[in-house]
Amino acid sequence: MIFAQPVIDHALTLLVVIPLVGLIPLILFRGDDRAAKQVAIVTTFVELLVSLVMLGQFKVGEAGFQMTESVTWLPSLGIRYEVGVDGISVLLVVLTTLLTFLSVLYSSGGAIKQRLTEFMAVFLLLEVGMVGVFVALDLFLFYIFFELMLVPMYLIIGIWGGTRRIYATLKFVLFTLAGSLLMLVAIVAVYLQSGDAGSRTLSFTQLVSSPGRFTPEFQTWAFLAFALAFAIKLPMVPFHTWLPDAHVEAPTAGSIILAGILLKAGGYGLIRFALPLFPSGAQQWLPLIILLSVVAIIYGAAVSTVQKDLKKLVAYSSVAHMGFVTLGLFVLNVQGGVGAILQMLNHGVVTGALFLFVGIQYERTHRRLIADLGGLANKWPLYTTFFGIFVLASLGLPGLNGFVGEFLVLVGTFAYKGVPISGLVWGPIAAVGVILAAIYLLWMFQRVMYGTVRDAYKDLPDLSAVEVACAVPLVALTIILGVFPQPFIRIIEPSLERMLALASAASVAIK
């Protein structure tokens, strides 16, 4: 390729910088909606291309970090600008750039009616934070990106959201901030424990290079602080209450990104930092987290069943699906872990798509209550086909992507030899969640799509070209991930094994 070597060497830095560069023309052409759309679409598309180039350069089968860059950043503190990707993060980066591009594309099709330039600017800023979270290898850098996602999403929900947007956005920010500030204290504590003054570090690779650095007691509290921040982001029951509010009020693009990427930052943080850094601390809290995961699966599904509002239903289904992620991660075996990562990707694609389609539907009918809808299948064949595929994927139909992740998580759960309650108990309970998902999703689909169509909806158009363009890549991924999961598993597996080794070897060493 023409731009080969320099781009490849600094691909990750480029990914962080490109959206920032896109901000400059946005500021210059502010007020011009057409220009704003074009700039945002081009920027996020270039970003997507660079991330695909990066994926192409990724060496499958290697466990360690690739395309790393490491520069001294704050010499007086020993903090470095350190980025890199491994099998766990590389796919999440591509998912981020893809969903951001599709969200921008969809939003420029008329979904955002006011202050388009500002919307696009905030969205690009959000992308910096999201990509940064998945590539940062220094805890300080990670924290900065983690928090950088906060303000843009706060503005997206608060300015372009629905009627109760202010309540929803403040709740979202305060929940997230409370967790992440406690994590900040833990990060500083890790920094102080990492060595004597002058040799301290927050670099992930250096922190895990000498297991047993942190005392078990320290790990117990540090893990709790990290896990709390990520559990709120994820969100785990009982910290999930901000999620339905935020989703219901957020504009469609905000919901897609919130469900597709922001929640993943929580799961990613657990497997990347909390587990490998504090293995014995994780052991302390493991039974509780598994219990809460299973509760999330059942509770999320049960609450989804009785929802009257479409968006709320998808939001609560996210709680259940993310329960599978934490369950898979904390049974601490390869099947569960790989399943959890796949589940994150699948959930990103499918739930992102579900929110997209709920948004498309809402824009036409201005109704989100299931009772107000019905019979749309008669009028919208394209819409029904796509929406149906995503609903089936979400409920875990074999052959589509949702199945693969949940299946692997369940396999891992059955293999979990936990004390006091083993995976043989948790597995069947979690499996009930899959059945419940079929119930609430199919029932919803039936009520919304079938039956007689109302007069008011008779003349509403089917999907537009832009909407089809947004849906096609997501459908493609849903099928590819469902039919050929093996290439993806091969990318994830070595790195996941490495993280799990860190998470278990050190705990053995301490015992």
């Binding site: 704050l74 010499p75 007086s76 503190l77 300080f140 924290y143 900065i144 928090e147 950088l148 906060l150 303000v151 706060y154 503005l155 608060g158 300015i159 947007r165 202010i166 956005t169 403040l170 920010v173 305060l174 901030l177 409370a178 500030l181 406690l182 900040l184 204290v185 500083v188 504590a189 920094y191 102080l192 003054a197």
Partner: protein, 481 residues
């Protein structure tokens, strides 16, 4: 001659104040007005730059003056804050008809006092500095003398300020009684000999802590703060809320580390508890405020608490002192600028805007709303801003000194504070303006300079190393061994 060179920056600041007054008297108020802030800034920058050509260090004036990195850091901080004040003030002063020359001269004199505190190694120099810093600010608070609230602010500030000075000087008298000398080094020797067990040391310590606590607005000595900040002309509030506080902490660091250094570790728990009470009180009361100016007044009390946590952690070494210095610098810029953002709203008297009066500011003056948001994000402590870095650097020594509970309290307080800071953002961005919304001043200089300051706070949040390594060096003299 060397003695005079050592205080050259202070001399230049004094001369600038006199020139400002003189130009105003000679040219007449109307013609001089546009030039006064310019003159002030040039004078201040000359004072800042002068040590480059005429450097000085060590003891001067027979031990009354000490020039070290600590002095230099605070000179930089005070001058930066005074420059910012001079840049953001003119819009408001012209609109409200506040005399310009008096304003700038008072700011300069107060800055001179603050700088004097930073070079004091003797109780007498220190006390002169503290009074020279405080008295001009009392005048500043009442500069809009036809406004009822400004009068209340000035009177309250003056009475409580005089009261606290009396307590402080009484504490100094006890120290003199213990040591038979006003030199901080001599006092240190005498205090070491007696230890914290002796009642006279405890009395002196309590009096000095109380006196300086008043100046820095530490709870429970903070009662004057909300009314004084609320009633003073807004640019004066911006200055009052940062420079005297930084000066008070300069005094606390010098006295606590030099004179009372030997017993500091035993005294640190008192500071830790005061820090906890201060930050929590400030934040909780700020939560229920509907007037943004008053809310910022309480928030500045909360920030005093965070800074005090660093004083409590002084035993952790240079990182604690550096954290305090860095926080003072960062807080100074962001808090001053946040108050200055209120001057965009054209309201009668000294009153600050209420939350409702800020509704929809975004659509009425985008640059003002965006700058204000950036400063509020700074104050909340969200990256990538200098405000975040200040908190990060503060938590580190606090944990290192063994005050894990205080570090957790800082984190929880920051989350609490996020609620009221972000509520302002909600009103500016997420509500539509009312029909009776007050006029917004479109002054270009103000929005341009605040925009630059906002960019600087982000830049310093990403590349803080120049300031932080300077703070580390500057903290070396106040490390307790």
């Amino acid at each position: 001659m060397n003695d005079l060179i050592s205080v050259l920056p202070e001399a230049i600041v004094t001369a600038t104040a006199i020139v400002v007054l003189g130009v105003d008297a000679a040219a007449g108020e109307g013609r001089a007005r546009p030039w006064l802030p310019f003159l002030t800034v040039v004078g201040l920058l000359a004072a800042l730059a002068s040590p480059v050509w005429w450097p000085a260090s060590g003891l001067h004036f027979g031990g009354f003056v000490l020039i070290d990195q600590f002095t230099t850091f605070f000179r930089l901080t005070f001058i930066v804050l005074a420059v910012l004040t001079a840049v953001v003030a003119p819009t408001y002063l012209r609109r409200e008809g506040v005399p310009g020359a008096e304003f700038y001269a008072i700011v300069l004199f107060s800055t001179l006092g603050s700088m004097t505190i930073a070079l004091a190694t003797d109780l007498i120099t220190l006390f002169i500095g503290i009074e020279l810093m405080s008295i001009p600010v009392y005048v500043l608070a009442g500069l809009q003398r036809r406004d009822r609230y400004a009068n209340e602010a000035a009177l309250k500030y003056f009475l409580l300020g005089a009261f606290s000075s009396a307590i402080l000087v009484y504490g100094f008298a006890w120290l003199f009684g213990i040591a038979g000398s006003t030199e901080l080094a001599q006092i240190a020797r005498a205090v070491t000999a007696r230890g914290l067990a002796s009642p006279e040391v405890v009395v002196a310590l309590a009096l000095v802590t109380t006196g300086l606590g008043f100046k820095a607005a530490v709870v429970p000595f903070h009662q004057w703060t909300p009314d004084a900040y609320d009633g003073a002309p807004t640019p004066a509030t911006a200055f009052m809320s940062v420079a005297p506080k930084a000066a008070a902490f300069a005094a606390i660091l010098r006295v606590m580390s030099t004179a009372l250094g030997p017993v500091q570790v035993d005294w640190s728990l008192v500071f830790a508890i005061l820090a906890l009470v201060t930050m929590t009180t400030g934040n909780v009361v700020a939560l229920v405020q509907t007037n943004v100016k008053r809310m910022l007044a309480y928030s500045s009390i909360a920030h005093t608490g965070y800074i005090l946590a660093g004083v409590a952690a002084l035993a952790a070494g240079a990182s604690a002192g550096a954290a305090v210095l860095f926080y003072l610098f960062a807080y100074g810029i962001m808090n001053l600028a946040a108050f200055a953002c209120l001057t965009f709203i054209d309201l009668e008297g000294t009153r600050g805007a209420t939350l409702d009066e800020l509704n929809g500011l975004w659509s009425r003056h985008g640059a003002a709303a965006i700058s204000f948001t950036i400063f509020l994000i700074n104050l909340t402590g969200i990256p990538p801003t200098v405000g975040f870095l200040a908190k990060f650097l503060m938590i580190q020594p606090v944990l290192d000194a063994g005050y894990a509970w205080l570090a957790v309290a800082i984190a929880l307080n920051a989350a609490l504070a996020a609620f009221y800071y972000l509520r302002v953002v909600v009103h500016m961005f997420m509500y539509d303006p009312d029909a009776k919304a007050p006029r917004v001043d479109r002054a270009r200089v103000l929005s341009f300079s605040l925009g630059i300051v906002a960019l600087i706070t982000i830049l310093l949040g990403i590349l803080p190393d120049p300031i932080y390594s300077f703070a580390l060096r500057a903290a070396a003299p106040v490390v307790i061994h």
